[in-house]
């Protein structure tokens, strides 16, 4: 079986793969940073006292979480231009990944904030700290401890999800595999190489997640 495996062709296409890898990296990082901003803002809205903000955030989060990412990508890519908004593929891809991950991140951050026990908040209230001081000194530092590992998990998901952008012809990693596969008809070489690169990214992020888990989680006080 392996005698048919053509390593030479992989080597030949290596620059092409590396360019795909670079694009996957750039798209994912940019999407992730933007998704964090969107997610934290959406979370703040969801926990807000104003019903309008809360409602808007809930609609955003639930509609993203209830629909497939591929459908969202198709909507932005094929749907937006018919509504008169024309943006290039890469930006469309980043927009879709940002909004998609943003919704999940909003829920992760919210879970972190809600996980801080009522007793902690009462202790802060009882000692005369105001709302912002309690947030800054008591709630957020503890929420961060339980939030970082699942956030890195979401980053891994986002990296892998960026493969779906190949469906709208963004020249990322999976797309380079598709090109090799169709130009030379060597799908096993193409997609094993692609998978290998995803694996590398995964292990990098996973070790970061494991390290942060050890570093950041605090044991309860009793």
């Amino acid at each position: 079986m392996l005698e048919n495996f053509n390593f030479r062709i992989i080597w030949e296409y290596m620059p092409f793969f590396l360019e795909g890898l670079r694009n996957t990296f750039l798209i994912s990082i940019v999407s992730l940073v933007l998704a964090l901003l969107v997610g934290i803002s959406a979370c703040a809205c969801r926990l807000s006292q104003w019903r309008l903000l809360r409602g808007a955030a809930t609609i955003y989060i639930e509609s993203i979480r209830s629909t497939p990412l591929l459908v969202q990508i198709y909507f932005f890519y094929f749907g937006l231009p018919t509504l008169g908004l024309r943006i290039p593929e890469i930006q469309t891809g980043i927009l879709a990944l940002m909004l998609n991950s943003g919704a999940y991140i909003a829920e992760i951050v919210r879970a972190g904030i809600v996980s801080v026990s009522a007793g902690q908040i009462e202790a802060g209230i009882a000692s005369g700290l105001n709302y912002f001081q309690r947030m800054r000194f008591i709630i957020l530092p503890q929420a961060l401890g339980v939030t970082v590992p699942p956030l890195l998990g979401q980053a891994i998901v986002l990296f892998k999800d960026s493969a779906l952008l190949s469906m709208i012809a963004v020249a990322e990693l999976t797309r380079s595999g598709q090109v090799l596969s169709s130009e030379r008809f060597m799908p096993s070489e193409a997609f094993l190489t692609v998978a290998f690169f995803y694996l590398c990214i995964y292990f990098f992020l996973k070790s970061l997640a494991d390290w942060s888990q050890k570093k950041l989680i605090f044991r309860e006080a009793y």
Partner: protein
């Protein structure tokens, strides 16, 4: 210092505080006991407005808590509260726990606050644990840090909500010792507890609550040895037989 006048509170239909009248003077140590669910915790939680009440009047340090627009943050800075479950901040060291409020509420500068914090922790016999995190401390040590956290605000009143109920028996003594010391120094204290020894030693008054009512009040010795009401007698016989 603390004056309840006909205070009522309901949780939905449950009448948790029923016509409470109580006057605690400055420097007085009051022990509140009673069966679980009798409203003792709710009573002291009203004093720093962790709980609201629906009817009646309550003055704390001459501030009328029944009025709207009371500056609660300012009031709470003068009242320290010690919880049954300690509620230390797990991501901060003992010293950081103690100085958080002095720095941010009293606006003390950090170096000054750190001195105060070390001094206060020394008072509760935790001089060797400044930089320990709560998870590294035993229950008794955590509760003493929690008391130091309250003390560091130089409060006018200290409220204790079953401070020894979550502790292993061998640690109860070290926490009570600290509280006895505070009482001797003249702190105004309201303590929800069933520790009779502590009550006899330092309490000026024992208050017995049942079903939201303030049933009986008396000197510790006469209350425990010779209760006036049937309900108090029953309660005392129950805590004595175990």
């Amino acid at each position: 210092m603390i004056k309840f006048e006909g205070v009522h509170k309901w949780f939905g239909k449950l009448h948790v505080l029923n016509d409470i009248n109580l006057h605690v003077t400055s420097g007085e140590v009051v022990v509140i006991c009673g069966p679980s669910g009798s409203g003792k915790s709710t009573l002291i939680r009203c004093v720093n407005r962790l709980e609201k009440f629906q009817k009646g009047k309550l003055w704390v340090d001459d501030v009328p808590l029944h009025d709207h627009g009371v500056n609660l943050t300012q009031l709470r800075a003068e009242i320290s509260f010690v919880f049954q479950q300690f509620h230390l901040y797990p991501h901060m060291t003992a010293l950081q726990n103690v100085i958080l409020a002095p720095v941010n509420v009293r606006k003390m500068n950090k170096a000054e606050a750190a001195d105060l914090g070390r001094e206060t922790l020394t008072r509760v016999d935790m001089a060797d644990k400044f930089d320990s995190y709560p998870a590294q401390l035993s229950g008794g040590q955590q509760q003493r840090v929690a008391i130091a956290r309250g003390l560091a605000m130089s409060p006018k009143i200290m409220l204790f909500d079953e401070p020894t109920s979550a502790l292993d028996p061998e640690m109860i003594g070290e926490v009570l010792d600290v509280m006895v010391q505070l009482a001797d120094e003249g702190m105004t204290m309201c303590v929800v507890t069933h520790e009779m020894g502590f009550a006899r030693q330092v309490a000026h008054r024992v208050i017995f609550m049942d079903e939201g009512e303030l049933v009986e009040t008396g000197q510790p010795d006469s209350f425990f040895d010779n209760p006036q009401t049937e309900r108090a007698a029953q309660f005392i016989s129950k805590i004595l037989t175990h």
